[in-house]
Amino acid sequence: MENSLNLAAVTFDGVLALVLLVLAWQLLRSPNLFKAIVLFISFGLMLSLAWVRLKAVDIALAEAAIGAGLTGALFLTALDRLQRNNQKAGDSLISQPGKVIAGISVLALTCILGWTVWTLPPFSNQMLALVSSNMPISGVENPVTAVLLNFRGYDTLLEIGVLLLAAVGVLAVTPSAVMVADSAPSPILILLLRLLLPFIILVSGYILWIGKYAPGGAFQAGAVLAAGGILLATAAVRFNLSASKALPLATGIGLLIFLLVALATMMLRGNYLQYPVAQAGTLILVIEAAATLSIAAVLVLLFVGLKSDADCPVPGEDSKNFIFEEENTIK
């Protein structure tokens, strides 16, 4: 029986659950924003361990890369921009009766949800049976990839659209399209890039490819590639978003390819996003490859768009994307 309780598992899960609750409580009540964000990153990493314990390895990969790493980087960048005036996150503005009402309502909601969770039936096998019986026609061997890109491909199509929408939104409110660093990048950082970037690209391609057979896939590969892109962005002295030609293309290509496949299946077979069985595997790989590029480009755009500041000088006439200062200007 899968859920038999042996002592080591119970201790580990109990401690992990306690750590999650304590981390969340500490990060939510801390008025120091930096402390809260660092605790949030640790919370994300502990959550990855919880995903592994719940047999959700794909989600553990995505959570470690996107949930903990990328979200933490976004928060720290925003904090940097907000704390130019060095302000503290103050207390609540709600009156005392309001706090009590809020507390009681949330407690009631939590109890109702907890009772619902407690009385859920212990086994629920219909979905798993449905997916397992349809795996031969899906074109891949990893059930999560099959569900994500074949059985529920429409959700993934819209999700890539949501990513694009978020990128457009961030770029719409960013004050300038040019990100200028405070100083030349440290030569040690450039060394790190030289060592890690080829490795990152290789690992990203591997995760994309292995998504067909084992936990992996487009989102995790895109997140790893985005990490490489963000490292590159932090080492650039000047990053001009409006002059970049590759970045908009990379951002749009995921949604574009997915839509083309969807339209092709609709016109040839009459059903939207119903892949022909013989080509299902290839189609999924093509869509995933385009989606990886797209996800990486959008995540890098989100980071750089958040980092751009209104104090940036006016962009010059050159239209280079990256300028790496190779001379050592260490002050």
Binding site: A17, A36, I59, M127, L128
Partner: protein
């Protein structure tokens, strides 16, 4: 009490804590942090519910939903943070103030 049930209850408690902090604190970044914590709680519940199968394999449909959810959560967080920075730039504050009668 099985292991998935423990994580599902932890998820529900996280959701409650996040909701309460969302209402309580007025600083926008703390609200965004609270939303992320609530989101993590919901994901925990979904994945724990997916583990309720009789065999060794979990149900992959909630896994796909949570994967989508993580990506959408990071997009929403990025947009919310960009809007917060813009609000700070335009009005000089990041706390939501009470509505004052005009």
């Amino acid at each position: 009490m099985t292991i998935p049930l423990l994580y599902a209850l932890v998820g529900v408690v996280l959701l409650g804590m996040g909701l309460y902090s969302l209402v309580m604190y007025s600083h926008l970044v703390r609200k965004i942090l609270a939303l992320n914590v609530s989101g993590a709680g919901v994901f925990l519940f979904l994945v724990a519910a997916a583990d309720r199968t009789s065999g060794p394999l979990p149900d992959p449909v909630p896994h796909a939903m949570v994967l989508t959810g993580i990506v959408v959560a990071v997009s929403a967080t990025a947009l919310a943070l960009a809007l917060t920075c813009r609000i700070h730039q335009v009005s000089g504050t990041t706390q939501l103030t009470d509505n004052e009668p005009d």
